[in-house]
Subunit: 657 residues, 2 copies
């Protein structure tokens, strides 16, 4: 991969994970230098003087066939004494370096840990304000007992249970979890025989504390392929106490589901690693979330988790091999309760983790989260739910019948694998409008005022998922690209240009950015969007055909950044079939909301199991029309289908109707 540049200095291929940003970097540049050139944010307080230790990164070792590079610690300059102040022996053995000290001397793949990332991702998996009937699985009972005497020498647990049955109407079959039993004798006496008992599903005592306690906490977790969101809730009031997100640490093993499954199959310790990484990540997240508000991880008494089927299997450490082989059956569909301690999660030792059911090989517990949150099975209207993520999941139907499917969209709609793509962090362009006459561009940038694109405001760093949808939709709406996605040759604007033989459109000029470069949308970016939106459209179309539906009444956009997508722009590119724009809306992270609902209301868990059993799965890959439909669906908005609701929005002459 070595190239000779004009200044005759060698360059090497550098890739940063988890962002996937990559490029050629000159020999001798530091990792911090390289990160700036490639638009990767690495924390640095001391300005590169090796004195703050904030810029720790890790070298990934080995040959990466996807990227065609061989990455080794020796491809960096030797470890310096100053680095030793911040990096202990264990970290050093793992390939940790200071970004400001290590110089590039060969091809290298660098992982930037969450804590070294310069700017935190904007919480795009925020919780939606939903009314939830409070009926948590874990409930508190304040119990006053009489002390044992020679005439009443009943054992501690038997004494407690007797009162819980008589005064709190809990069942006689009630059990106590082993760790809770161990602390019982001391707590009863410490509380002078007045204690607060936490029960799970009214059938198992999981905790006991002296005196009257009024606080209990639970955590709802949505494990996405790329992003993990966690919601810390007060189980007594139902209040959302804290929300936190992180990158899924599994991204180092592959950016999408299939590559992670392949990783597990190719490495004997692959499952252990991929499971361990998410558990370790969650433990860190939990530590941060609880610590930030004066709690400890042991205060978490209940957890619910949603995720697609692969994430679900990885979390449980179930071999995902058969998920990747036709007919893709999961190891289990129904919900599962596992003790957090058996999973290695460091929360309360007796806490359970409730995994919501999965629907099929690739329609996971996250989709079930959407269902119990949105309840299409209780409506007569025909609803299409699109959960947009690295893997697209679709549900269609109403109270009569529901079918689901999934399709590989790739990460383009999340801003990855896009030339100037970035996460939804400050500096990301999230809204784009192009004037159809002048082709001038108006931007909305995260962390900046709307429309502030003056050169004085060097704000833009890249384009996030909603921005790229907007950008492509606007290019099409204004005729810069045609229905097949190709740039029109007759556009007369300085923004349209051919760069090294490849056409592109300038979204933000160099002087409007903080990266010293024009931010563009390239032909390849448009192709990636076409592949993603084509897959989603094809899924919806084949489902409609299966149900005999001509038209959907409602489209719900769910998923990590569903709320940030402009429904109209999404329809312009043909992400889904024609629908009244008023009936297209985003529901935020419905998967996470579903997890939160199941955390706060145990009836929702039963409902999830019931609905998961009812949803019929449509396997797209075995549908005969799939290939043909997919090719047609790559067009904007579609090669043949009509979009009456786009009339007046997109010029008639460029709509194929």
């Amino acid at each position: 991969m070595k190239k000779e540049c004009k200044n005759s200095k060698k360059t090497f291929h550098v890739i940063f994970q988890p962002s996937g940003k990559r490029g050629e970097v000159s020999e001798g540049k530091t990792i911090i230098d390289a990160s700036r050139e490639l638009g990767v944010d690495i924390e640095s307080i001391c300005g590169g003087s090796k004195s703050c230790g904030k810029c720790k990164v890790r070298v990934e070792k080995g040959f990466f066939s996807d990227n065609g590079i061989s990455s080794h610690p020796e491809h960096l300059s030797p470890f310096q004494d100053e680095e030793g102040k911040f990096i202990d022996a264990e970290e050093r053995a793992e390939g940790v370096r200071l970004g400001c000290a290590a110089q590039i001397r060969g091809d290298i793949l660098i992982f930037v840990p969450e804590q070294s990332r310069g700017e935190r991702q904007v919480v795009r998996k925020g919780a939606t304000d939903r009314s939830i009937i409070l009926k948590p699985a874990v409930t508190l009972h304040v119990v006053q007992l009489s002390a044992p005497t020679f005439h009443d020498p009943l054992g501690d647990f038997d004494r407690l249970k007797k009162t819980l049955v008589q005064n709190h109407h809990l069942p006689l079959s009630m059990e106590i979890d082993y760790p809770a039993l161990l602390k019982l004798p001391a707590v009863l006496r410490h509380g002078n025989w007045k204690v607060t008992v936490a029960t799970w599903m009214r059938r198992e005592i999981i905790d006991i504390k002296p005196g009257k306690v009024e606080d209990a906490y639970g955590l709802a977790v949505d494990v996405g392929t790329t992003t993990v969101a966690a919601y810390l809730c007060h189980l007594v009031s139902g209040k959302l106490i804290a929300t936190e997100t992180m990158m899924n640490p599994q991204v180092v093993y592959g950016e999408d589901v299939m590559s992670r499954i392949s990783y597990v199959m190719a490495h004997p310790d692959g499952l252990e690693k991929i499971h361990g990484s998410i558990i370790e990540g969650l433990n860190g997240l939990i530590q941060t979330m609880t610590g930030g508000i004066g709690l400890s991880p042991e205060d978490i008494l209940d957890l619910t988790m949603v995720g697609n089927t692969a994430m679900h299997h990885f979390l449980l450490k179930i071999n995902p091999e058969y998920l990747g082989l036709a007919p893709f059956p999961p190891a289990l569909h129904q919900s599962m309760d596992v003790k957090a301690r058996d999973l290695g999660l460091k929360v309360h030792p007796s806490a359970y983790v409730h995994f919501l059911p999965v629907e099929a090989g690739f329609v996971g517990a996250d989709n079930v989260g959407v269902l119990i949150a949105e309840r299409p099975h209780r409506q007569r209207k025909k609803v299409l739910i699109i959960d947009v993520g690295t893997n697209g999941e679709l549900v269609l139907g109403n109270n009569e019948k529901l079918i689901s499917t999934s399709c590989a969209t790739g990460p383009a709609l999340e801003g990855a694998h896009i030339t100037f793509g970035m996460r939804a962090a400050p500096g990301a362009i999230e809204r784009i409008r192009i004037d159809p006459e002048t082709f001038e561009v108006t931007l909305k940038i995260i962390g900046h005022d709307v429309g502030s694109t003056s050169p004085k405001n060097r704000a833009a760093k890249g384009i996030c998922g909603s921005g790229i949808i907007d950008g492509v939709a606007e290019l099409f709406r204004t005729g810069v690209i045609d229905a097949s996605g190709r740039f029109s040759k007759d556009i007369s604007s300085p923004r349209f240009r051919i760069n090294e033989g490849r056409p592109e459109f300038v979204i933000a000029w160099k002087q409007e950015t903080s990266i010293e470069k024009d931010i563009t949308i390239t032909q390849q970016d448009i192709r990636n969007v076409q592949l993603a939106k084509g897959a989603l459209y094809t899924g919806a179309k084949l489902m409609m055909r299966r149900l005999g539906i001509e038209k959907v009444d409602k489209v719900i956009l769910a998923g990590a950044f569903g709320s940030y997508i402009d429904p109209k722009e999404a329809m312009i590119i043909g992400m889904f079939p024609d629908c009244d724009p008023k009936q297209v809306y985003a529901v935020g992270n419905a998967a996470g909301d579903g997890a939160r609902m199941a955390l706060l209301n145990r009836d929702k868990r039963r409902e999830a199991d019931e609905i998961a059993r009812k949803v019929e799965y449509l396997e797209l890959t075995i549908e005969k029309e799939f290939q043909k439909e997919f090719l047609d669906a790559m067009y904007f908005p579609h090669k043949k289908d009509i979009f009456p609701h786009l009339r007046g929005i997109v010029k008639d002459q460029i709509l194929n109707q």
Copy 2:
């Protein structure tokens, strides 16, 4: 403790555990020498040439107030190179030495591990032949499934459960234990969709194996204060496959229950150690038992455990502090199921351990074992059950009412704390008959023909529990000792003599023994037996008074060596109130039998919980008459109570009637 002997050589106090054998040993003798002088068997194949490594022992460090000695590794000669061949660094740090190499240079307490003991204990906790209705908690189901297809892509667990519910009538609420879920996908495919499922209590899948499997194993364990017995059973046929016993490794922390509780309370890591030692011991026992017949510990799918309340708490790692404080409530009475993995037991990862219920602070799960085995609650006859061990446990009553109590008997009835006491191993005198005219003695020695006391047969090594009861009973029956336990001064026999001012009776002459010493019963031995039997009698008496019973219809002797006690001899010393000798019988290790029954029949578990709740506990120590009654009960057979059934057996003039 140093003494000057006549040869002016120093001697030191040496104690061997777990036997409790002790004595003065000259400076410079090896541990093996000392063990032979004191009648302790230590394995040695090479004859002391430091070449077999079989005689490993461990020095217990610290000051032992009970024994008044201070024991230190430095009280032995320095570690030799030859020892290093058999003792690794870790063992060395724990104080392990070769018995043939280490010489005594100070007071020392030495623990002889099971594997270094010269002769294995005779299995006195053998299983009794009882008819048990086979209805185990763990059952096998051979299941044939159809493979998933695109038209039937049901998940693996859901597919299995569907068939189990439809064809095997298992409940829809059936769950799967987490480790079993992890192996499920691979096993289903490896078995080509034909598998054998093991379920626990018909409500949880705990194992799955490919193809048709017809073997499943369970282990019933009776954890005594001194001896642990384990019964390996085939759960499908109900057959007893193997029986194994070992010393309870906790003996190093105290010989009786109270001293172990004190140990836990005095040491911050005491509970961890005392729990860890029994778990480690059980793991070793399980390894040995299964390995011996070509099985592995993972083949054990179910376990039941009985033990007194302290053993029960130690097994569960429950703080026993409150057991030792009035009113002595246990942490729990009812039965408890704990995953073996949570206890650290290395068996099948999904196996449960079922702890039978405990009745009260000192009437434990072992007593419940006796109850479900003997079922006094189903009889009209008034039954007295005596479970003889280091701690005596008594139950009295019938189908109308049952009460229980416990008393500290000390280990004398098990042959410990008796001058020539030993475990029931080859060489132990287990039967003693004294001719009332000549005072000549006839012996039965374990491992030798009856009556073979000729000098040619140097068989005897010591006296075990049943032997000491016989010996004391015979001394009383023949008038050698009086009702108060004192030796009669007017006995004219060379066997009766005063040794260093202390009267004793020779049971076996030096030439009949293998220890080069006369084996005697001393005045102190008799006192120890009086304390033990007096406690048992007092317990029975106060229970009878509570129930308003004048006479018991039946006496059942249970416990480790209950079967070996001669009921008539036991009545002669007044171990229990007068009863028709035909109605006094031994039932072997009924506690172990109870554990085995609960292993093989899950209904017995419910029965145990029911009966445990019904038995009323009588706390002896708060009974006003206790002290007075105890003093009277120290007499042979009793100071005041009459024993009509002893007429004709014991000379009338020495019966107080």
